[in-house]
């Protein structure tokens, strides 16, 4: 063999040797800069990995809670690992057999993870520790349950309400009064909301909006759920059948489409393109481009950060006349123990501490309400969210709702959002309304839109119900039943 071959062989061996000897970074590696306070107990502690989605100030809130846990005892050390797309990574880690000890998911992940056997059921652990269902606000607990078992427990919650710009209301007080509306209070029904919106609107000379009183497509995060405020539902709670074409859902879309048709799809498109990103002073509500908007419990923190002087109010988002309220969509992040993790017992100890003592720490720092029924005595004093009471009441309101627990939720939601987009942009055929004016034209436009909306919603139901049935059929087959 020529020398060059020896050289090559030596190089390959060296590469493999270095790769082998180079130790993997380990949770137990001690970082003197960060972990000095735990120096004495470092070696004796069980080290847990906790994957969670939050970054920025919300991530810091989680880290603070974890720090408190680490300080509270000397047997466990939790490492907070901020993980983007945590659901996908956790699923792959679970399949690969190397999941984290604790994982923070979204509520919509619970069913796929539970069905896939990727989470440990928590009921027995809860029973042993004395953690009862009445510790929680029922709807938030339900988010982590599936087929009668608890797979994950709620952490950071989402409750939504109407935010209204008091400055705009005051500026147009005379006009509001002239229209028979009270400028000192927010609307109480959707019909009211529409009337307020009309007065608050301001336009440029060419008809492009300068201020919109309200826009159903802003911020656009819950476009699929408007039907709930009209008394609808996206699935039949008794049978689990999907009901996107429920008359109330159709009515909600007709209502939203009314805005697009009244103010012009193109003009609204131009108007919306001028909105800045959510977390910026150019947020449409914070900048004053939209006077009323549905937003989550976190929003006051963002408003005060970007425009501390802004005068705004928060109230339950109004329901359509005759629909019982108040109501809010309730969602939550959840935390669970992946099956196959290294330290399930210690993981539960951490989760138990989080559920009993940790949640108030993060909720305060993130400016949110709690998923637990009885807040600790010192929770409210100095809480940064001054509007918290509205959200706390909504969380416990009997008509507040959670989204239908279905294994195809992600795709269902995407299709619903797309259907909303389609309806919003759907051009009314000019030939159909040619020659009509005034109320006759309006009625014809609405009838045409309703037809298209019904068709679109029906299509979503047909496609998604078929997919749902298919999943159930295949799961039954997987469980050993005979394939039809």
């Amino acid at each position: 063999m020529r020398p060059v071959h020896f050289g090559l062989a030596a190089l390959i061996v060296a590469v493999f040797l270095i790769g082998y000897l180079e130790s993997r970074p380990d949770l137990r590696d001690f970082d003197p800069a960060r972990n000095q306070a735990f120096k004495d107990t470092w070696a004796q502690r069980v080290h847990l990995s906790y994957w969670e989605k939050w970054a920025s100030f919300e991530g810091e809130a989680c880290q603070k809670m974890v720090d408190e846990f680490n300080k509270s005892q000397s047997g466990i050390y939790v490492h907070y690992i901020q993980t983007s797309q945590v659901d996908r990574k956790a699923a792959l880690a679970a399949v690969g057999g190397d999941p984290p000890d604790v994982v923070g998911l979204w509520d919509s992940n619970v069913i796929p993870f539970a069905e896939g056997g990727a989470l440990v059921p928590l009921d027995d652990l809860m029973k042993e520790s004395g953690l009862k269902a009445d510790h929680y606000i029922p709807n938030y607990l339900k988010l982590g349950q599936h087929r009668g078992k608890t797979w994950a427990l709620p952490t950071s919650v989402m409750t939504a309400a109407l935010f209204w710009n008091k400055e705009h209301f005051r500026k147009r007080a005379a006009d509001l009064r002239a229209a028979g509306l009270d400028p000192d209070r927010p609307p109480e029904t959707i019909e009211d909301l529409d009337r307020y919106a009309v007065v608050l609107n301001e336009f440029e000379a060419d008809g492009t909006p300068r201020i919109m009183g309200f826009l159903p497509s802003e911020p656009g995060w819950w476009n699929y759920a408007w039907g709930y405020w009209f008394g609808g539902s996206l699935a039949d709670p008794a049978t689990g059948a999907l009901t996107p074409d429920d008359p109330a859902n159709v009515r909600a879309m007709v209502w939203a489409k009314g805005y697009a048709e009244t103010y012009g799809r193109e003009k609204l498109l131009q108007f919306r393109s001028g909105f800045g990103t959510f977390d910026s002073p150019y947020n449409a509500f914070i900048e004053g481009k939209v006077s009323m908007e549905m937003q989550g419990v976190w929003f006051p923190m963002f408003i005060r950060r970007h425009r501390p002087s802004m005068e705004f109010g928060v109230a339950p988002f109004p329901c359509a006349k005759g629909v019982p309220g108040p109501r809010s969509i309730l969602q939550a992040d959840v935390v669970g123990i992946p099956r196959g993790c290294k330290h399930p017992k210690e993981a539960w100890k951490f989760i138990y501490w989080m559920q009993t003592e940790g949640l108030p720490i993060t909720a305060r720092l993130q400016g949110k309400n709690l998923a637990i029924a009885k807040a600790p005595d010192n929770f409210h004093a100095g809480h940064p969210n001054l509007e918290l009471k509205v959200f706390e009441d909504l969380a416990e309101a009997p008509h507040s709702f959670i989204l239908p627990p279905t294994v195809v939720w992600q795709e269902y939601m995407d299709r619903l959002s797309r259907a909303f987009e389609h309806v919003w942009m759907w051009p009314v055929p000019e030939a159909e309304v040619a020659g009509l004016t005034g109320d006759a034209r309006k009625a014809r436009v609405e009838a045409l839109c309703r037809e298209e909306i019904e068709r679109t919603c029906r299509e979503v139901r047909e496609v998604m119900q078929e997919k749902l049935d298919r999943v159930h059929r295949l799961d039954a087959e997987r469980a050993g039943e005979v394939r039809p």
């Binding site: 699923a91 796929p112 069905e115 498109l269 393109s273 797309r418």
Partner: protein, 393 residues
């Protein structure tokens, strides 16, 4: 060991690391994907063999058909425009001018910018209210409309009623002037006798032609497609799902136009490949053509294009394959919206596998795509090969 077999062993030894990676990271997933395409396979559950069900579902899946449509429409517009632009650019970059290398670098640089950065940058450029593109468009149309307004009434044109003002007759002077300068015997005679003056006259004629064409085109298009022309003044780009031109059934949506326009940003890379081939074209051919009295177009048509045709074929095939891999741009800029108008097939596969946990179905889609790409590539070879000249090789 004999010399040749020893050489073979050494050769294989050298490519072994690559070969292992190929088999493990490409070969295995490729075949596993084929098997999974016959299974129902949510990543957290075990794969369940379901025969041809996934493929049968594909046949009726309107979402898949839509993304395939988006991809084909993108290909139908982006590839020809890209090839044309790259070729034109390459010809300019091939010209012997001062600072030639500088221009070449400038046009290649965009290709070096990571896709994610480009996508975020273009998000701003496409903003309908504050974006650079619409600000420029607004300015251009302000000037063009003011100029057109002297000859035609645009308001009347949009309504389809009589829009021609008396002054429009003055526009007819431009083609007459151009005819006089370029084509008439007097013009040709002047070009020979007084080349300097002739150049000036021809330049003025060209300017007059452009100035006459702008209002004629502007008014003409406003009569033909008033809504499209109105929108062109300030398009909604990435958030607009309506087609442009609206009358053309297969026209891309404004959002897709956004991605097509953005994809031209990287055309410099294609141009560099053309440029390399352009420099290979033997000078003797041009010299011979000059002697035969060929003009610029004749040389381009009969020498340049045939000589670089193999590279055009290569670029077209690469572009076809690339179209089916478009992912990052729509994923970052539009998330497939509005109304799925920018949901390319690659994004569809991603959604199925990672959003909806349907790895089996996604594998079936991926395999169908693979077959489509192979078929298109063969087709491209068959069609273009007839027109490709390999210089006797």
């Amino acid at each position: 060991m004999k010399g040749t077999s020893r050489q073979a062993v050494v050769g294989y030894g050298f490519i072994l690391p690559w070969l292992v990676a190929l088999v493990v990271f490409i070969g295995y997933p490729f075949l596993a994907g084929f098997y999974f395409s016959f299974c129902d396979f949510p990543p957290l559950k075990s794969p369940l063999f379901i025969g041809m069900d996934n493929y049968m579902e594909l046949l009726g899946d309107t979402g898949f058909h839509r993304s395939l449509g988006v991809t084909f429409i993108f290909a139908a517009f982006a590839i020809p425009i890209g090839v044309f632009l790259a070729l034109t650019l390459a010809m300019f970059l091939n010209a012997r001018v001062r600072g030639q290398s500088f221009y070449r670098v400038i046009f290649y640089i965009p290709h070096l910018v990571p896709t994610v950065v480009v996508a975020i940058l273009w998000l701003w450029i496409f903003n309908p209210t504050y974006g650079l593109l619409n600000i420029v468009l607004k300015g251009v149309f302000l000037a063009a409309d003011a100029w057109t307004g002297l000859f035609f009434s645009l308001g009347a044109a949009a309504k389809g009623t009589g829009c021609v003002r008396p002054a429009a007759a003055a526009l007819l002077a431009a083609p007459v002037l151009a005819w006089g300068a370029f084509l008439s015997r007097a013009g040709q005679a002047m070009a020979k006798r007084r080349p300097a003056r002739a150049s000036l006259v021809r330049f003025l004629a060209a300017v007059a032609l452009v100035l006459a064409l702008v209002p004629a085109l502007n008014a003409g298009l406003t009569v033909l497609a008033p809504a499209d022309m109105q929108k062109l003044h300030s398009p909604g780009w990435l958030s607009d799902s309506s087609s442009f031109p609206a009358e053309l059934p297969i026209a891309p949506s404004w959002a897709l136009w956004g991605i097509i326009v953005m994809s031209m940003w990287g055309v410099g890379q294609m141009a560099v490949i053309y440029l390399a081939k352009l420099q290979d074209v033997p000078m003797e051919l041009y010299e011979a053509a000059d002697i035969d009295g060929a003009n610029w177009w004749g040389k381009a048509r009969h020498i340049t294009l045939p000589m670089i045709s193999p590279v055009i074929l290569f670029n077209v095939v690469m572009a076809i394959i690339g179209t089916f891999q478009v992912f990052a741009e729509p994923y970052i800029m539009t998330q497939g919206g509005p109304e799925d108008k920018t949901r390319f097939v690659a994004m569809f596969v991603y959604d199925q596998a990672f959003q909806y946990q349907r790895v089996g179905y996604a594998s079936a889609v991926a395999w169908v795509l693979f077959l489509i790409i192979v078929a298109l590539t063969i087709l491209a070879f068959k069609v273009i090969n007839k027109h490709v000249y390999y210089a006797g090789r």
